[in-house]
């Protein structure tokens, strides 16, 4: 199995982004996804910058994919998407069907991200005919469904699983980070910069429940599949995706690297838990609520 680094979901300072990818270049991950997938107002890193970062990563031997914006609203966002899909250097991860349309009609191969709804074989086969080369399993689907999908997977299509990260749960026209500061989206003052792992939303009983990341809502707990790595290998999963968090991502990649090479999962799992911003969950894998943590496979 290969390891990938998913697109950064958060809004980080430009230098933080550059530093992050400098470290990524020497990591064990084979694939790196680049680009802004949440909010078109986040422009500290431009498309030209992403292309330059991509070329450097490519020289370090990484496969580089450019990820597209997830929720398209303004005409300017569609124009930016068209530009992204015309780039001649890298394959594109489509996070919306509009990108699939642009790429497939241009005869270009593509990857689909976790927000493209591929829930059954007929959808997978249809997209394979359009140029799909790799797809990310939607995060709410479990191992049983993955097994069924793998059984009839079209030839030449790789399967990627969201292996670690706060779950991307929802997208809105409204910016919740701005709202939490009583600001409108059009005058958000880039408050997202203050929350490099998202802003915590708690219940009135202080249960840390969700995380606000601009127009995106994430899980407060970090979904992680370390204990299921052997099973995912058996199911023929090709790629495990590590979604960047602000701290410890390089070490997390090392942990998954050790896991795929057959190291003892128990100490790795313990260390991994200590590196997460809050705690872990994996309920989706076993057809439970996504926030649950099934530890029956841990030891």
């Amino acid at each position: 199995m290969k390891l990938s680094i998913g697109p950064i979901q958060y809004f980080w300072e430009r230098q933080q982004v550059l530093d992050f990818y400098e470290q990524a270049a020497s990591s064990a991950a084979e694939i790196v996804y680049l680009g802004e997938v949440i909010c078109s107002k986040r422009r500290l890193v431009t498309l030209d910058d992403w292309m330059a970062i991509g070329r450097e990563l490519q020289q370090s031997g990484k496969e580089v994919i450019l990820s597209s914006l997830t929720l398209l609203e303004a005409a300017s966002e569609l124009s930016a998407l068209k530009k992204l899909c015309r780039n001649s250097s890298f394959m594109v991860e489509a996070n919306d069907v509009a990108a699939i349309q642009l790429l497939s009609t241009a005869g270009r191969d593509f990857v689909t991200g976790p927000t493209v709804n591929i829930y059954n074989n007929r959808s997978l086969q249809l997209l394979a005919l359009k140029g799909l080369k790799r797809w990310v399993l939607p995060v709410e689907l479990g191992l049983d469904t993955l097994k069924d999908l793998q059984a009839q997977r079209p030839e030449g299509v790789e399967t990627e699983v969201f292996a670690l990260g706060r779950l991307p749960l929802a997208y809105s026209a409204r910016c919740y980070t701005a709202r939490s500061h009583n600001l409108p989206k059009d005058d958000c003052q880039f408050k997202c910069l203050d929350y490099p792992d998202g802003r915590m939303l708690k219940t009135q009983e202080d249960q840390e429940f969700l995380v606000l990341n601009g127009i995106q809502t994430q899980s407060a707990l970090t979904h992680q599949v370390l204990e299921q790595v052997p099973e995912l290998e058996i199911l023929g999963v090709d790629v495990l995706r590590i979604s960047p968090q602000f701290r410890h991502t390089p070490r997390i990649i090392e942990i998954f690297d050790a896991a795929r090479k057959g190291a003892d999962l128990l100490p790795l799992g313990k260390e991994l838990l200590s590196l997460l911003p809050l705690g872990a969950c994996n309920g989706y894998l076993v057809d439970q609520a996504g926030m649950e943590y099934d530890t029956s496979q841990v030891a």
């Binding site: 997830t70 929720l71 398209l72 609203e73 303004a74 005409a75 569609l78 998407l81 919306d96 069907v97 509009a98 990108a99 349309q101 642009l102 709804n117 591929i118 829930y119 059954n120 074989n121 007929r122 959808s123 249809l126 997209l127 939607p138 709410e140 689907l141 469904t145 069924d148 779950l167 749960l169 929802a170 997208y171 809105s172 026209a173 409204r174 910016c175 919740y176 709202r179 939490s180 409108p184 989206k185 059009d186 802003r199 915590m200 939303l201 708690k202 219940t203 009135q204 009983e205 249960q207 429940f209 969700l210 606000l212 809502t217 309920g283 057809d287 439970q288 609520a289 996504g290 926030m291």
Partner: protein, 331 residues
């Protein structure tokens, strides 16, 4: 502008038709549609009556088969498509690419609409479904401003339907997993958001707690009326504040912008609420019918009547309404 109204059972369907709906949309009694609630929706017998009642009166009937089947259930979605087609419905409202592929291949003459659950917000997205499955209408998610809707209509290869009234999804439809994160069941997989099976109401000394699979969605003081714990409409803490962090309990109401929706070329106005009562359907349909007729007759002179607004507010969540994303400051 066609008026498309919801019906979760036969009395609601009759209420919609009798009060002036041009089309009524329904679903079957299982997870093939996004209002999979206990006691709701149509069996084969009631479905046959529904089709007859609507079509005998010159109205259209649409069937929503707009959830996302997984491999083990795919045949149930196929059967739903076949059943609806066999009864000669006017259109299917579909979301999943696999189901669209099946329906367009098996029933090439049947009219297909792209459900809001397909989550398509741009002309390029619409073009994908038009070119591959021949969809003849798209229902837009409730995330676009009026100007953005206008842009989509200008570039869209097919007519556009938008939501005009009803409960408001604040997340882009078809890509919201909040409900399954808390309960294991989502609109995509199960056809319900914040399902009743996981709801608990707790009477406390100081009021009422509403929970979803144990998670406290809201706490109501004794003087407050407790609402249904829809996950995105609870009060949560962010920083120092406890507030409706995502959205208030409120309903979408577009009466004030109907002339604008007409001007930009909206083809159909959809009313949300298959889970609501026949009385709701009757009232909302009657108000929307009167408003649309006024608007078409005299777009310049059109003003929403106070009486209409009051009637709609009385059946709204939290008795309040909003323009939602249509109105930029809401965002």
């Amino acid at each position: 502008m066609e008026l498309v109204c919801p019906a979760g059972n036969l009395p609601s369907l009759k209420a919609a038709v009798d009060n002036g709906a041009d089309a009524v949309y329904v679903g079957f009694k299982d997870e093939t549609n996004a209002r999979h609630f206990a006691g709701l929706n149509f069996t084969e017998r009631t479905f046959e009556k529904a089709v007859c009642y609507a079509q005998d009166r010159g109205r259209k009937i649409f069937v929503a088969i707009n959830t996302f089947p997984q491999p083990r259930g795919f045949d149930r979605w196929q059967s739903a498509v076949d059943q609806a087609a066999a009864y000669g419905v006017d259109a299917l409202i579909l979301a999943d690419m696999g189901v669209l592929d099946y329906a367009s291949e098996r029933w090439p003459d049947l009219r297909l609409h792209l459900s809001v659950q397909a989550s398509v917000t741009s002309s390029e997205g619409i073009a994908f479904y038009h070119q591959n499955f021949g969809i003849r209408r798209v229902v837009l998610p409730r995330v676009l401003s009026v100007n953005q809707v206008a842009q989509v209509i200008t570039d869209s290869p097919v007519p556009v339907e938008v939501f005009g009234f009803g409960s408001l999804c604040v997340m882009v439809e078809g890509r919201c997993l909040l409900s399954s994160y808390a309960t294991g069941r989502s609109p995509n997989t199960y056809g319900a958001c914040s399902p009743a099976s996981h709801v608990r109401w707790e009477e406390m000394e100081d009021g009422t707690n509403t929970r979803l699979n144990g998670v406290l969605i809201d706490h109501y003081g004794e003087s407050e009326k407790a609402g249904y714990p829809t996950l995105c409409k609870g009060r949560f803490q962010v920083g120092e504040h406890t507030f409706y962090a995502l959205e208030e309990p409120t309903s979408l109401n577009t009466l004030s912008i109907l002339p604008k929706l007409r001007e930009i070329g909206v083809s159909a106005i959809k009313v949300e609420g298959r889970q609501r009562s026949p009385a709701y359907v009757a009232r909302v349909t009657a108000v929307m019918r009167a408003a649309i007729d006024h608007c078409l007759l005299d777009p310049q002179g059109y003003r929403p009547k106070d009486q209409w607004m009051q009637q709609l507010a009385s059946v709204s969540e939290g008795s309040q309404t909003t323009l939602g994303a249509y109105h930029r400051p809401w965002q």
